[in-house]
Structures are given as C-alpha cells and as structure tokens.
C-alpha cells in the first residue's frame, strides 16, 4: 500500500512538472526574447508581459503543485527513490510533451541526450 502511495505521488509530481514546464515554456515563447525586450523597453514591461501571461500563471500553479506533491511523496517514500525517479521521468515526459504540444523538433540528437541525462540523473541521485 505504501509503495502504491509512493508511486502515485511520483506520478503526480511528474504530471504536474511536465504540465508546468510546458505552460511556462509556451508563456516565455509568447513573451519573446526577454533580453531584447529588456534592452528595448526596460524591466517593467518584461515583468508585465510575463506576470500577465495566463500560461505563465497556470504554469506557476502546476509547478507549485509539483512541489507539494514532492513534499507528500518524500513523506511516504524514500528520498533515494522519489527524487531521482521523479526527475528522470519528468525529463522523458517533457521531451514527449515538448514534441507534441510545443512542436519542438526533438530529433535523434535530442532523444539520445534526453535518455543519457535521464539515466545519469537516476544513477547520480540513487
């Protein structure tokens, strides 16, 4: 039962992180190159464009939910399982979701990179 709870929490962390990252990435693409905008018109317009973007706000909420799911997950399961499992699965989930929802061209180079990093994170934190 505890194992089921732990994996449920890991699934919740991964889902919330992926949704958060996709929304935040979409929001920042809508805002555009922050460095250029800053140079052109200063800090206030950058903050207004970012904080006023609905995708950014929903992305922030999803990221916060991922954070709280992590707290629950850590209270049910071992840190050495929950943290690396969630991080590694989030990497793979993000790559799939970025291809589908953000239309990023995830070519062979990126797939290899994502797999290597996901495996490496699992080993490092384990």
């Amino acid at each position: 039962m505890r194992t089921l709870y732990t994996w449920g929490a890991i699934l919740a962390i991964v889902l919330a992180s992926v949704v958060g990252d996709i929304l935040l990435s979409r929001a920042m693409k809508q805002v555009g190159d922050v460095g250029e905008l800053w140079k052109r018109s200063g800090l206030i317009p950058v903050l207004r464009a970012t904080l006023g973007n609905p995708n950014f706000l929903f992305g922030l909420v999803a990221t916060a939910m991922a954070f709280f799911s992590m707290l629950f997950g850590l209270s049910w399961g071992d840190v050495s399982l929950v943290a690396p499992a969630a991080a590694s699965l989030t990497f793979i989930g993000n790559a799939v979701a970025a291809k589908i929802f953000l239309r990023e061209r995830v070519d062979q180079r990126r797939w290899i990179a994502v797999s290597l990093v996901a495996a490496g994170v699992a080993l490092l934190a384990g």
Binding site: V34, A87, L102, R110, A113, G120, L123
Partner: protein, 157 residues
C-alpha cells in the same frame, strides 16, 4: 548563442545546485515538517540556510524563464541537470567525500547528454522554422535547420 546566453544557462545550473543544497542543509537543521504542524514551516523559513536557499531558487526560476524565452524546453532542460554534476564534483573535490563508481558513471552520462544537445540549435520552433522558410532551397532536414540557426547568429553569411 552569445556569451550572455551561456551566462544565463550557467546561472540556471549554479542557482539550481546551490539553492537545492542550501535548502536541504537548512531543512536538516530544522527537522521534518508536517501538515499538522504548520508553525514549524515558519520556523523553517527563519532558518538562514533555508532563506538564502529560497532566494537562490528564485534566481534559478528567473534565469530558467529567461532561457526559455529564447531556447527550446528540450534544450534548457539538460542544462538544469548539470547542477547534479556540479554538486558531485563539489562533494568530491571540495568536501573530499567519497563518490561511488555508479555516481561517476551518472556524471559521465549527464555530461555526454548535455554535450549532445549543446551541439545542436537552441530553438527549433517559430523563428527557426521562419528562417527555414525564407531560404528557398531549405528542406526540413536538421542540417538546414542548423544552417538557418547559424545564419541567424551571423556565423554564416
């Protein structure tokens, strides 16, 4: 990629690694928190390690958002994982802790993965696609995308 952009990616890595480690150090000092003892959360926030850790994580979030404004999610993501490598290297060479063979293997895999991504274009949507369309002979291959990317950066004429 300009020097500024590499600095932002470096910021993502350093802020994530230092913020996480200060936060975890502080939380170990204050002890566990639970939903039934929310006052302990306030005590945790007053711990200087936790407070500085949160500030550093805000720095992480800001640099992460800046990076996402000009690069793909699948390009920025691996940069955040370089923080794990940084932490392991600090553990080995500054704190003189033992780093197991498995962890060295993990470091090698992450570094290899980051190298793979860094060799390609940082943006493959919108602007990169638009740059591709402007070139009459451009097809959809990765090679032409990299050329378009280099044209944008001024590497190619």
């Amino acid at each position: 990629m300009t020097v500024d952009k590499y600095l932002v990616l470096g910021g993502v890595t350093v802020f994530a690694a230092s913020g996480d480690s200060l936060l975890s150090h502080g939380m170990q000092e204050t002890g566990g928190i639970s939903l039934h003892h929310l006052t302990l959360v306030i005590a945790a926030l007053l711990n200087p390690w936790v407070a500085i850790g949160i500030l550093l994580l805000l720095g992480f979030f800001a640099t992460y958002m800046i990076a996402l404004s000009w690069a793909d999610l699948t390009y920025v993501m691996p940069a955040t994982s370089m923080g794990y490598v940084l932490l392991a290297l600090i553990a080995r060479f500054v704190l003189h802790e033992h780093v197991s063979l498995l962890r060295w293997l993990g470091i090698a895999l992450i570094t290899g993965g980051v190298g793979f991504v860094a060799g390609g274009p940082e943006l493959t949507t919108n602007r990169a696609a638009a740059a591709n369309r402007e070139r009459p002979s451009a097809d959809d291959s990765v090679e032409s995308e990299r050329e378009a990317d280099e044209t944008r950066r001024g590497v190619r004429p």
